[in-house]
């Protein structure tokens, strides 16, 4: 590799570490900001590491870990009712803990719960349990007739994220944006 090309790639990597709109996590951050979503509780995932780091570094956001995903759903639901917009970050296995809170809080109270779910369990999963958990996610979403999109392409992501957030808020209905390994690279065995 020539020095010039290595430099360029290093710079791109550095930009990617920040919140460049050319990266999927840069798009999440900018889209949250544009839609005045400032409260972002999360249960971490390896794939979400850079996004979480950049949210912490940006004073626009109040972002923090919770012990469970449903706790984060409760927090953003309360904040919504108090006039502050939020979104929750989690992994597939975390989503699998949410059926009760979705069916008894977010849906019946008509709360525009916005969820970003880093998808594990497919496209190179190495843990059988994760792949089984993943299969429960879309049936749960469909059984509640919840809006959800699986994002696979960078060029479509901003459109999907921005429109979905606006739709959630205006229709007062939850939405799940599932971030496919095709978009994020996912987590593979050697990581």
């Amino acid at each position: 590799m020539s020095q010039t090309r290595a430099d360029r790639e290093n710079k791109m990597a550095a930009a990617g570490e920040q919140s460049s709109p050319e990266t999927w996590h840069g798009i999440v951050l900018q889209t949250l900001k544009r839609n005045e979503i400032r409260l972002v509780p999360y249960v971490p995932d390896r794939v979400l590491t850079t996004l979480i780091k950049n949210l912490h570094a940006d004073p626009c956001f109040t972002t923090f870990p919770t012990a469970r995903e449903e706790e984060a759903v409760g927090i953003v639901s309360g904040a919504w009712m108090g006039g502050m917009r939020g979104a929750v970050l989690m992994q597939t296995s975390g989503f699998a803990t949410l059926a009760n809170v979705l069916a008894s809080l977010a849906m019946p109270y008509q709360i525009p719960l916005i969820m970003f779910v880093s998808e594990r369990g497919t496209l190179g999963e190495f843990n059988y349990g994760q792949s089984l958990v993943c299969r429960t996610m879309r049936p749960v979403l469909d059984s509640l007739a919840m809006e959800h999109h699986t994002v696979t392409r960078l060029d479509e992501f901003e459109f999907i994220a921005d429109r979905s957030i606006k739709q959630a808020i205006t229709t007062q209905a939850p939405v799940a944006l599932i971030l496919s390994p095709l978009l994020t690279g996912g987590k593979v065995f050697d990581k």
């Binding site: 449903e70 759903v73 904040a79 009712m81 109270y109």
Partner: protein
């Protein structure tokens, strides 16, 4: 009910304590009532637009109240939760201790039983001290109320505290006095009106 020897606290009544709390509220304070009897007694104490009643999502009264407290830092937020409910979401105590909102007061109604399902004892009933758990989670401003007057004193104290407060109260095994009208959309909408977030149509 729990039976920690170190505690010398009176067994009180949920409806009575809830009524005492509501009587103190003069500044449109928010009150989040946890699932079951806790919000039934909040309803029975007299509906206010700043009350939120949970009809499911057991264990989320404190997280919901935390969200309200973060969204409206100048409004006092009270959260009423049962001991069985809190056991479902003990991790939220650490989250609240870390964020440390000074406008949040939590009350744990501890009868040691799942009253509404037939008064079966909780796994904590005979062995665990919820206030000690809260202190261990970093909520240093946590205390058992010795009696009704002490409860009122602790409520007053919490309103000027520098961080979040948790008050444990031992209660009897009586069911709630009223029954909340189960209309989640209207409950949420009225609450948002009460918090000044929306105007009625």
């Amino acid at each position: 009910m729990t039976n920690t020897p170190a505690r010398n606290t009176k067994v009180m009544n949920r409806f009575d304590l809830t009524s005492r709390l509501i009587a103190k509220l003069k500044h449109e304070e928010a009150v989040v009532g946890g699932i079951g009897n806790t919000n039934f007694d909040l309803w029975a104490a007299g509906h206010r637009p700043q009350n939120f009643y949970m009809l499911g999502s057991m264990g989320l009264a404190f997280p919901i109240a935390l969200g309200v407290a973060l969204a409206q830092p100048t409004r006092r937020v009270f959260a009423l939760e049962g001991d069985g409910s809190l056991l479902m979401q003990l991790g939220s105590l650490s989250t609240i201790a870390t964020l440390a909102p000074r406008n949040l007061t939590m009350v744990v109604m501890d009868n040691g039983v799942y009253q509404i399902t037939g008064a079966q004892p909780t796994p904590a009933a005979a062995v665990s001290d919820i206030v000690a758990i809260a202190i261990g989670c970093g909520l240093s401003n946590s205390a058992w109320a010795a009696d009704e007057e002490d409860f009122e004193r602790l409520i007053d104290q919490s309103m000027s505290a520098a961080g979040p407060s948790l008050i444990g109260v031992r209660i009897d095994d009586k069911p709630g006095v009223g029954t909340t009208r189960r209309d989640p959309v209207q409950i949420r909408e009225r609450f948002m009106h009460g918090l000044g977030v929306r105007q009625p149509l």
